[in-house]
């Protein structure tokens, strides 16, 4: 029955127009997610690359990002909202804090996981530190880095719902409203939308990954293929 109600809610034309309609809420939700992931990436990617490349501060980085992970998001968003005196900035900062750890972990682990022999060869052939980072370490770190971005995106999409607590029209709104008036159709309908959005974004990022991750690395992720040429070595 709940799903029928949810379906009815989703298909109700009244929910598709106006300033509190589904499209508007999806748009707002997306905007917050995009802002949060981009903001987090702007902080976490350079930091992760630097620490991974130099090997300095790895312990601090891992400890720090675990501490960030332990923060309760709802509490943080509410706290920042109160501290920032209302407005969207508090919510955005809360989501950025949430998105930083997975991206940081992806960037750092991506660089750290590059085969030591490959890095040694790059150095031994005469690459400077910067050349090594941009031409060798970063391209090889992309699979894990993109993975970190996907993780962060999923978490942010799910958590952006809490922004509704402080009055922002994200997809958390129907969840809260539905719960308050025991309108489970609205509640489940909102949840379905959040889940759908998460899946769509993940697929989009997977495609982006296919575009940016070098072919040679994608080949190695698959089961090893027999070389077709005659073996000469």
């Amino acid at each position: 029955m709940i799903f029928a109600d949810a379906f009815a809610w989703l298909l109700d034309a009244a929910n598709w127009t106006g300033s509190r309609s589904i499209p508007v809420r999806v748009g707002v939700h997306l905007l917050y997610c995009l802002g949060a992931v981009l903001g987090a990436a702007a902080i976490a990617v350079p930091l992760g690359l630097y620490v991974g490349h130099t090997g300095r501060g790895g312990v601090l980085l891992v400890g720090g990002s675990n501490a960030l992970r332990a923060l309760p998001t709802l509490g943080l968003v509410t706290f920042l909202y109160l501290v920032a005196g209302g407005g969207q900035v508090g919510v955005l900062i809360g989501l950025v804090v949430l998105a930083v750890p997975p991206i940081l972990a992806g960037a750092y682990a991506g660089i750290q996981d590059v085969d030591r022999g490959v890095v040694d060869a790059a150095r031994g052939m005469g690459m400077t530190g910067a050349q090594r980072l941009w031409r060798v370490e970063l391209p090889n770190a992309l699979p894990l880095l993109v993975g970190g971005l996907r993780n962060a995106t999923l978490q942010v999409v799910a958590t952006a719902s809490v922004a509704a607590y402080v009055g922002i029209e994200t997809l958390g709104r129907p969840l809260l409203d539905g719960l308050r008036v025991l309108d489970y159709g609205q509640f489940v309908g909102g949840a379905v939308l959040v889940a759908l959005l998460a899946v769509v974004l993940d697929v989009v990022l997977a495609l982006v990954g296919k575009l940016v991750i070098p072919r040679g690395l994608r080949l190695s992720a698959r089961p090893r293929r027999r070389a077709k040429a005659p073996r000469v070595g």
């Binding site: 052939m125 090889n140 040679g216 070389a227 073996r231 000469v232 070595g233």
Partner: protein, 346 residues
């Protein structure tokens, strides 16, 4: 020429990796650093291109103290090959080989043309250039590693256990290939290995290191096997050193005599050699009429070790001698080979 003058490397934890190394690597030779693990051979190699800097002492490349040269610039002029090749997985084989020329400022087109030449030089088909490292066998990857190190035509080549991760048969092929390349290119090569057989096989001079980073002996391989400086070197070169030293004795004076082949009539009750239409040995026909596989073949003109091995491994006791094309030249007897070895002693 590479020169180590009183070079010592002490790591932060206090271990001494290299202790007072004095050694000259002659230009245009293959010099092998060999020793057990922890003997400082790799550390010594890595001090040449400043992957590690010495605690004291001087390393000179062509008379210039390497510490006076900026590391990336120094390394662009020194080829570097490591174990498991260390190819860049995200680049094609061709672009891997073109790395150093591109870093040195060549145009993309010129660097790729050069890379294609190098692939050919190391015996890889051109179409392999479009592949990625993960699509190659271990031996192919090592060849690409060598091609990549040679791409900018550096006078010095550093090779750190380059062939130790491939199987023995492939390794032998790669060693032969290196010797062939060296005959053509005349580089100054420093080659690190823990395998004494590899060392005496490819080295023109061999430096044996012992634990604690001390040079135990520095000599041509024949001398190393014949006159080890002390018990450590004698133990390291191994029990079979008397036999292995025969690799450096030429076989002049060993009598090669004809042999009956199985396609000739008669000969019952004797061992006869089976040959194909091109007179390539195929095995032996035993006196009871059965056919058994042959032993190792000795190519005429090679060192006496091959002749003795051919005789000892042959089911008939006769070592089969072939010419450069692999065609039957005759047979030798172990007793006769030993006589020649004995006579050399006197």
């Amino acid at each position: 020429m590479i020169e180590f003058r009183g070079v010592t490397k002490r790591f932060d934890d206090g271990t001494i990796a290299v202790n007072g190394l004095d050694l000259v690597v002659e230009a245009g030779t293959i010099t092998v650093f060999v020793g057990p693990s922890g003997c400082g051979k790799t550390t010594s190699l890595r001090m040449v291109n400043r992957m590690i800097d010495p605690t004291s002492g001087t390393v000179l490349v062509d008379g210039r103290d390497v510490l006076t040269v900026d590391p990336p610039k120094l390394r662009l002029g020194i080829g570097y090959v490591i174990q498991q090749a260390g190819l860049f997985p995200h680049r094609t084989v061709l672009d891997n080989v073109a790395t150093v020329p591109l870093l040195s400022g060549w145009s993309k087109g010129r660097a790729r043309t050069r890379a294609a030449e190098l692939l050919e030089l190391v015996g890889l088909p051109a179409e392999l250039g479009r592949r990625y490292p993960v699509q190659l066998s271990g031996g192919q990857q090592q060849r690409v590693g060598v091609a990549r190190a040679l791409a900018a035509d550096p006078p010095v080549l550093l090779m750190d256990e380059p062939f130790s991760a491939v199987d023995p048969v492939v390794r032998e092929g790669l060693q032969d290939e290196l010797l062939r390349l060296q005959a053509e290119l005349d580089k100054t090569i420093v080659f690190v290995t823990h395998d004494i057989d590899e060392a005496v096989r490819i080295g023109e001079k061999v430096a044996v290191f012992r634990e604690g980073g001390v040079l135990a002996q520095y000599a041509p391989p024949a001398e190393l096997l014949a006159r080890p400086a002390d018990d450590f070197v004698a133990g390291f070169v191994g029990k079979d050193r008397g036999y292995r030293s025969l690799s450096f004795v030429d076989a002049a004076g060993v009598e090669v005599r004809p042999v009956e082949t199985a396609d000739e009539p008669g000969g019952d009750g004797r061992w006869r050699l089976v040959v194909d239409a091109d007179r390539r040995p195929q095995g032996w026909r035993a006196p009871d009429g059965s056919t058994v596989p042959g032993g190792s073949l000795y190519e005429s003109g090679g060192p006496v070790r091959g002749a003795l091995d051919a005789a000892l491994s042959s089911p008939s006791g006769l070592g089969v001698v072939v010419d450069a094309e692999g065609r039957l030249a005759g047979v030798v007897e172990a007793r006769q080979v030993l006589d020649v070895i004995e006579s050399r002693r006197g």
